[in-house]
């Protein structure tokens, strides 16, 4: 039986949900479905849509929005927030170390093979100093909950985590649909996120930048599934949204084409993968990037956020070493636990996993977005066998984890209100220090019993409320 965040096993509302439940009981049962419809219409009007890869129609879809909030109290949040910041500080220290002295490899805390056999390791970054030593300007930490006090980190997203626009838009929507609820609760605000992000990006301008740094957001363009988010964030921050072809390299600097001639660019918040950033250095077929960008970057003429080569720290095998990184770099004990993970290149681990495949979750080491994973308990025998063959063929490409009983939160479905499994992705900003806004993206698996919350796999989202401490 999964842990339900709203109700205890004897059906009483837990503390953070008490006020909400009272409110809900006082409302007509038609209210939520009606508000749900309103929300859909508004999201469509606002153009908050998501393109699904592999969908032949190429149509834009709304991410299903659930009108019931996910509520976290101040104490719980403090722990999550401290834990996420701690993790990102350690991961950032790891990247700095890895691309410089490699103390952690010398100390044999992490095996060399884990790093150097990793496709996301970037030799181009070796010995390079980045502005303020920040590699991970923005991180999305995926958390799951299995009990009253049991939170686990499921994965770290250190490349260009998406979804933050939904955190912001979901809040706007809730404020609009249920103003009275916000009068009954003290919900911490999230709307300062774009401000903080911009400040953070400006603070990492390269040393060579004199005066007011120019920050741009580099998008792959409007065919990208997260294009709405790119446009949204650029608009919120008041910075230019550019594509690769809008930028060029000259005299060792990056410039943006404008109607008034070239304008120097100091910080690029890039939402393009490493491989596509610079056709001269990486994938030569990339038309999304800027030829010569890497050379400017290496010479300290421009800051990229996030830095190149952060992917080596967020794959699912490196993940298993994060608690060790926290101890090694910070001398602290991890505040948040990892999910126990089997590494399939190890014989004993592999043996166990292959014997228990139908009970476990198996993931590709570098997969993301819920693609290329097996959830044993909800898969058919054929799917399990297919994965078995794939694992045997290339064991180091996979990890396995126990199937966690993700916590549930009441969710509006066709039949009424029913518990559905959720996860949580808060967004950590790293500048001088690591900070995060009180909230995050709660993703919810809308199908009964499903544990896959990814939007690409039919998951929905909820507004996440962090309650502020009651003041008198």
């Amino acid at each position: 039986m999964a842990f339900d965040e709203m109700k205890t096993s004897d059906g009483k509302a837990r503390a953070p949900y008490k006020v909400y439940e009272n409110w809900l009981l006082s409302m007509s049962p038609d209210l939520l479905p009606a508000k749900h419809e309103q929300a859909d219409a508004l999201f469509r009007k606002l153009g908050i849509t998501f393109a699904v890869y592999g969908d032949q129609e190429g149509t834009e879809r709304l991410i299903p929005f659930d009108p019931i909030p996910r509520i976290i109290d101040a104490g719980e949040w403090k722990k999550l927030s401290d834990g996420c910041c701690q993790r990102v500080r350690a991961l950032n220290a790891f990247l700095k170390d890895l691309y410089h002295d490699q103390e952690i490899l010398k100390a044999e805390v992490i095996p060399r093979s884990q790093v150097f056999n990793n496709g996301m390791y970037r030799p181009e970054m070796q010995g390079l100093d980045v502005a303020r030593d920040v590699y991970i300007h923005i991180a999305g930490i995926d958390l799951v909950r299995t009990g009253e006090n049991d939170f686990y980190v499921l994965e770290d997203n250190l490349r260009s985590p998406s979804g933050v626009s939904y955190m912001l838009e979901n809040r706007t929507m809730m404020l609009r649909l249920f103003p009275d609820l916000f009068h009954r609760h003290r919900v911490a605000g999230v709307e300062q996120y774009p401000d903080k992000l911009l400040k953070n990006l400006r603070s990492v301008a390269p040393a060579a930048c004199d005066g007011d740094p120019t920050v741009v957001l580099l998008t792959p363009g409007y065919y990208n599934s997260a294009y709405f988010e790119h446009a949204f964030l650029a608009e919120q921050m008041g910075i230019e949204l550019v594509e690769g072809r809008d930028l060029f390299v000259s005299e060792g600097l990056v410039w943006m084409r404008t109607t008034r001639g070239p304008k120097r660019v100091d910080v690029i918040y890039r939402r393009i993968d490493d491989d596509f950033l610079d056709p001269l250095a990486f994938n030569p077929d990339s038309t999304l990037g800027v030829p010569g960008l890497l050379s400017v970057y290496r010479a300290g003429g421009v800051t990229l956020a996030n830095a190149i080569g952060t992917g080596v720290a967020d794959d699912k095998a490196t993940y298993t070493y994060v608690p060790d990184m926290i101890r090694f770099y910070l001398g602290e004990e991890p505040i948040l636990n990892n999910v126990p993970t089997w590494r399939l290149e190890r014989d004993s681990d592999r043996k166990y996993v292959l014997e228990h495949l139908a009970e476990l979750v198996v993931k590709e080491v570098q997969g993301s977005g819920g693609y290329g994973m097996l959830v044993g308990p909800t898969s058919t025998r054929e799917q399990v066998e297919e994965f078995r063959t794939r694992i045997i063929a290339n064991p180091s490409n996979y990890i396995a984890q126990p199937t966690l009983a993700l916590s549930t939160v009441p969710t509006l479905v066709d039949q009424g209100i029913a518990p559905r499994h959720v996860d949580l992705r808060p967004y950590v900003l790293m500048g001088e220090t690591a900070t995060l806004v009180p909230g995050g993206l709660t993703r919810v698996a809308l199908r009964e019993g499903s544990l896959v919350v990814n939007s690409s796999q039919g998951g929905g989202t909820k507004d996440t409320w962090v309650l502020e401490d009651a003041r008198c």
Binding site: L175, R176, F182, H183, G189, E191, G238, I239, E468, R471
Partner: protein, 298 residues
């Protein structure tokens, strides 16, 4: 007519700000509704009829109260009455739109308003105002009726932007600027910018922290900011020069405009933003009266 449409739009904008502030801020939430009354100028009437400050009562008063001349209801009614009076002069599309807006507003009651939600309603009012301006822009001859429409819009807007700046304007600009902006202050000025759709413009232009002085600069001095006092005065002067280049009111408007066009913010605010606004409101109202005398009494 254009004055009243503009007023309805601005009341909607003020309500939207108060609503957002009240939902996200701390402390006594009802207090955030006070500015709606002080900006629209209905404080005394409110106290007389509704007594204590409360969110529901303020919304009722500012949206639906037909006896409150500064309510959205009353503004849309007045706009429609004025449009009716000049029906033969304005394009029929304009008349139909103003009339339809009124008919819809008339059908509104507390229950219906709750149903749409305050934000939804404020959006609607704003859209109707946008539509009004769009029709005048797209269909009207560039002659007197259009100039008078512009005149009304921008006089009203200048008045409203000034009143908006007055809230928490006390002492802004006097003495050295504080290095740290109080968070509630910051929230307030961000809400002010949002209410005049200038938040993004602010970001683009300043790329820096929000301070009361910068917001004041944006909403007073910048001619390219469509709701700033400078821009409003520029439009007023343009319209007046077309309809009465030699009228006394044109001279007065030109003087007011010159003050913003050539003045410096630190000098204008040397007694504080609140004092500046106070004087500005006296001036702009005197100008309104003068225009009335010059054109309508003649």
């Amino acid at each position: 007519m254009s004055r009243y449409i503009e007023r309805a739009e601005n009341i909607a904008r003020f309500l939207d700000v108060a609503n957002r502030m009240a939902m996200s801020a701390e402390g006594d939430r009802d207090a955030y509704w006070q500015p709606v009354l002080s900006i629209t100028g209905g404080e005394d009437a409110y106290t007389e009829r509704c007594g204590k400050l409360s969110a529901v009562a303020v919304v009722g008063f500012a949206v639906l109260d037909s006896a409150n001349s500064a309510s959205i209801y009353a503004s849309l009614r007045a706009a429609r009455e004025n449009a009716h009076a000049v029906r033969s002069v304005i394009p029929h599309e304009l008349w139909e739109s103003v009339n339809a807006t009124w008919l819809e507003a008339r059908g509104l009651d507390g229950a219906r308003l709750r149903d749409i939600g305050l934000m939804g309603f404020c959006d609607w009012v704003r859209e109707r105002s946008h539509l009004f301006r769009g029709i005048t822009y797209g269909t009207m001859m560039r002659d007197e009726p259009l100039h008078f429409i512009h005149l009304g819009t921008h006089l009203e807007r200048a008045d409203n932007t000034a009143r908006l700046l007055e809230v928490r304007g006390e002492g802004v600009g006097v003495g050295p600027a504080p290095t740290e902006v109080d968070p509630t202050d910051q929230l307030h000025w961000a809400a002010v910018l949002r209410s005049v759709s200038a938040f993004k413009a602010f970001r683009t232009y300043y790329r820096d922290d929000l301070t009361p002085l910068r917001v004041a600069d944006m909403l007073i001095m910048r001619a390219d900011m469509p709701r700033s006092l400078h821009a409003c005065l520029e439009n007023v002067v343009n319209a007046l020069e077309k309809v009465g280049p030699n009228a006394e009111c044109t001279r007065v408007a030109g003087g007011l405009h010159a003050q913003l066009h050539w003045g410096r913010l630190d000098q204008l605010l040397n007694k504080g933003l609140d004092k500046f606004v106070e004087e500005f409101l006296v001036d702009i109202n005197a100008l309104g009266a003068r225009i009335h005398d010059d054109f309508l009494m003649a």
